[in-house]
């Protein structure tokens, strides 16, 4: 392996990480750019873009004010279902808000720091894989510009973002423990794995499967040498992570996780990865970057354990991304969001494997192309997911004044994350089946979908859920599409438009004729 720098600097002294001064600047730049890209939804908007944070931060505020993990979301799906969610993300926002003496919604912008955090983790993991800092810095740069993070923060997948940022640290700690099973490495591994596993259900499944696959493969290769390490890590992990385990098992039971992943469930057929998903979340250029996996797998970089960990990660991504090809029905484009880490490592490997005098040019071109693609896509995503605007909030305030405390309101999927908190009325939220985490919610979500799309069974669904009001966003994306809802409701004589501004349209539901 040639150890020439990718980015030439003129004889600066090395820092403690073996970085030249130029590389320190590039790493700091990568972390700053990643943070700024994710901070975009917080600039110039009255409310951050996205729907999901309405739930995450409402949960955090509930935890902050009551001191206990909330079990029911009072107004969401009429308060009839359990709030099936891992509590970690809400707890972190609650801790931060409590210490700052503010609401959890005031600390939302700190989510942007996940960008810098992810870059740091990718850098440390890449430095271990490549054994050289220049390639690690390039991996951090690719990770900073990978479009998945900015796309995810546009729709406010805060918990998922947090786990993706922590994932490289967790994998690194597991690899270090595997090499050197010292008490300090064990403690760090257990703290990171347990903490990360407490944050987001889907990511916990991911993390668990990656670590299990890696451990099984390594254990099978050297059973006697591995048994002690595995036994101690599992024992201490279970003891320290008992609350995480109990929360995860409760959630798995509530969401019927085994049935969802292994059963013949058609819910996820529409979430199979297509080209539009790939281009939006990973960008076209990532296909070229993934070509860099070949030098890694051809053993040009990294130890055996490192390569197996990377393969385990890729295998789980492939399983959930394209598992339908082998009969697994839980196939979800969310898998593409997890490809940021392997893409960054592969991209750095590709550049590091290229001819010496072409490296800086190739690395620069990749970074510029990836960065421009992300920068161009981001404003559109922010616009699409700008659910809350002053007009929408004004409309919800009008509805709160005009409705009775027991009235039921039907809302779309995106607005449904915010409406229960802002409206303080029982809502039924239209969600397509693949977005429903808790199977208890399926019938309520289906009725709301019927109502908002004006489909067959419209009147029955209204009566079954005692719906008095229907709310449609006027200027942002939602599910069902607001235009479809507005066109459908215009043909229904039972509903009448009673409020409209630039952000919201409200219909009142009359008696059945």
């Amino acid at each position: 392996m040639v150890a020439s720098p990718l980015f030439r600097v003129n004889g600066e002294p090395s820092s403690a990480l073996g970085l030249s001064r130029g590389q320190v600047v590039l790493l700091a730049l990568a972390m700053t750019v990643a943070t700024l890209l994710r901070a975009y939804p917080y600039f110039g908007l009255a409310y951050p873009a996205g729907g999901d944070y309405g739930h995450h931060l409402h949960f955090a505020d509930g935890y902050r004010t009551t001191g206990h993990v909330p079990l029911v979301n009072e107004y969401f799906q009429r308060g009839l279902t359990h709030w099936v969610v891992l509590p970690g993300a809400g707890m972190i926002y609650a801790l931060l808000a409590s210490f700052a003496g503010t609401s959890a919604f005031d600390v939302a912008p700190f989510t942007a720091l996940t960008g810098g955090l992810e870059c740091a983790g990718v850098f440390l993991l890449a430095r271990r894989l490549f054994g050289r800092s220049d390639a690690a810095v390039l991996a951090a740069l690719i990770s900073a510009l990978f479009p998945a993070g900015p796309d995810m923060i546009a729709w406010a997948g805060y918990a998922n973002l947090l786990v993706i940022a922590l994932l490289p640290f967790t994998l690194l700690s597991w690899l270090r423990y595997w090499d050197q099973p010292s008490p300090s490495n064990l403690a760090i591994t257990v703290v990171l794995v347990c903490g990360t596993a407490a944050i987001h259900h889907f990511s916990t499944l991911w993390l668990g499967l990656i670590l299990s696959t890696f451990t099984l493969v390594m254990g099978a290769a050297a059973p006697r040498a591995s048994a002690g390490k595995i036994a101690v890590a599992v024992g201490v992990g279970i003891a320290m992570g008992l609350p995480v385990l109990s929360a995860a098992l409760a959630l798995a039971a509530g969401a019927n996780a085994a049935g969802v992943v292994l059963g013949a469930n058609p819910r996820f057929e529409i979430t199979r990865i297509d080209w539009a998903h790939w281009d939006r979340i990973a960008s076209t250029i990532s296909l070229a970057l993934l070509g860099g996996l070949f030098p890694i797998l051809r053993r040009r970089f990294g130890a055996v354990a490192d390569r197996r960990m990377l393969l385990a990660h890729l295998g789980i991504c492939a399983l959930f991304g394209w598992g339908w090809l082998v009969g697994i029905n839980f196939s979800y484009y969310r898998a593409v969001y997890f490809l940021g880490l392997p893409t960054a490592l592969a991209g750095a490997a590709m550049v590091a494997s290229s001819p010496r005098n072409a490296r800086t040019l190739l690395g620069g071109l990749l970074v510029v192309a990836l960065g421009l693609g992300t920068a161009f896509r981001l404003p559109g995503a922010i616009r699409y997911y700008s659910i809350l605007t002053p007009d929408v909030v004004e409309g919800l305030a009008w509805l709160e004044r005009s409705s009775g405390p027991r009235d039921v309101v039907a809302v779309g999927s995106f607005l449904g994350f915010h409406a229960p908190r802002l409206l303080r009325r029982a809502t039924i939220v239209a969600m397509p089946p693949h977005q429903v985490g808790n199977t208890e919610e399926l019938p309520l979500a289906a009725d709301a979908m019927t109502v908002l799309s004006g489909a067959e069974g419209f009147d029955d669904a209204l009566d079954r859920q005692s719906v008095r009001w229907i709310v449609i966003t006027a200027n942002s994306g939602d599910t069902p599409q607001p235009k479809i809802s507005l066109d459908a409701l215009a043909t229904k004589t039972r509903v009448s438009e009673v409020f409209r501004n630039d952000g919201l349209v409200v219909f009142h539901v009359g008696a059945r004729q």
Binding site: S15, A16, L17, G18, L19, Y63, R64, G67, H68, V69, P87, G88, M91, I92, A94, L95, L96, S98, F99, A100, G101, T102, D106, V107, F110, L113, L117, A120, G121, F123, L124, L162, L166, F169, T170, Q180, P181, S182, P183, S184, L186, A187, I188, V191, L192, C194, G195, T196, A198, I199, G228, V232, V236, A239, M240, G241, L242, P243, V244, A247
Partner: protein, 190 residues
């Protein structure tokens, strides 16, 4: 990787004592139900369990092999130099939280440092001794998040109501580990 050296009798004995302490406290807690002393019981259980785990790890692994030093490790004096700013930030955060809750200085400066950095820095100083200062800083936020979540989730499982005081104790404990470790290293170096 694992050394062949036998654990000392003292380690084994202390491990046993810690185990029985935690089991006893757990039984007391299980039979006691909720009440004004729930917090105390929870702390006893957690302390016992933590001591047991640390000793168990020590007994089972008892690793002697140091990590290969690829980069310049942090000397005790450099590590100790971090402790001063850490203490200063901590004091400033507590004072600001008491006097000006919700202020911009607290929200955008001291609170994130106190919650997302200091506890993890404490852990990384204590556990990543042979790593560089920059790596200890890079690992601070993940360890803060992981460490705080493990403690807070345990408290929730034990029925302890979350409050600012509880969280402050959690954060200070984790941060304190770093202080203790740094102070001990400095003393040993002297």
């Amino acid at each position: 990787m694992m050394s062949a050296s036998r654990p000392s009798a003292l380690s084994v004995a202390l491990s046993g004592v810690a185990l029985w302490m935690s089991v006893g406290a757990l039984l007391v807690w299980l039979t006691g139900g909720e009440g004004p002393y729930a917090w105390t019981r929870a702390m006893v259980v957690l302390s016992g369990l933590a001591a047991y785990m640390l000793l168990l790890v020590h007994v089972l692994l008892d690793i002697q092999t140091p990590l290969p030093v690829k980069v310049a490790p942090v000397g005790p004096h450099r590590r100790a130099a971090v402790l001063g700013p850490m203490a200063l930030i901590l004091v400033a955060a507590v004072v600001t939280r008491t006097a000006w809750p919700g202020s911009a200085l607290l929200l955008f400066g001291l609170a994130p440092l106190a919650v997302l950095v200091l506890p993890g820095l404490g852990l990384s100083i204590a556990l990543l001794k042979r790593r560089s200062l920059i790596e200890q800083l890079l690992q601070a936020a993940p360890l803060s998040i992981g460490g705080l979540l493990v403690v807070v989730l345990w408290l929730d499982l034990l029925g302890v109501r979350n409050s600012l005081e509880v969280m402050a104790v959690c954060g200070l404990t984790l941060t304190g580990l770093g202080f203790l470790s740094g102070w001990r290293d400095r003393r040993d170096a002297v």
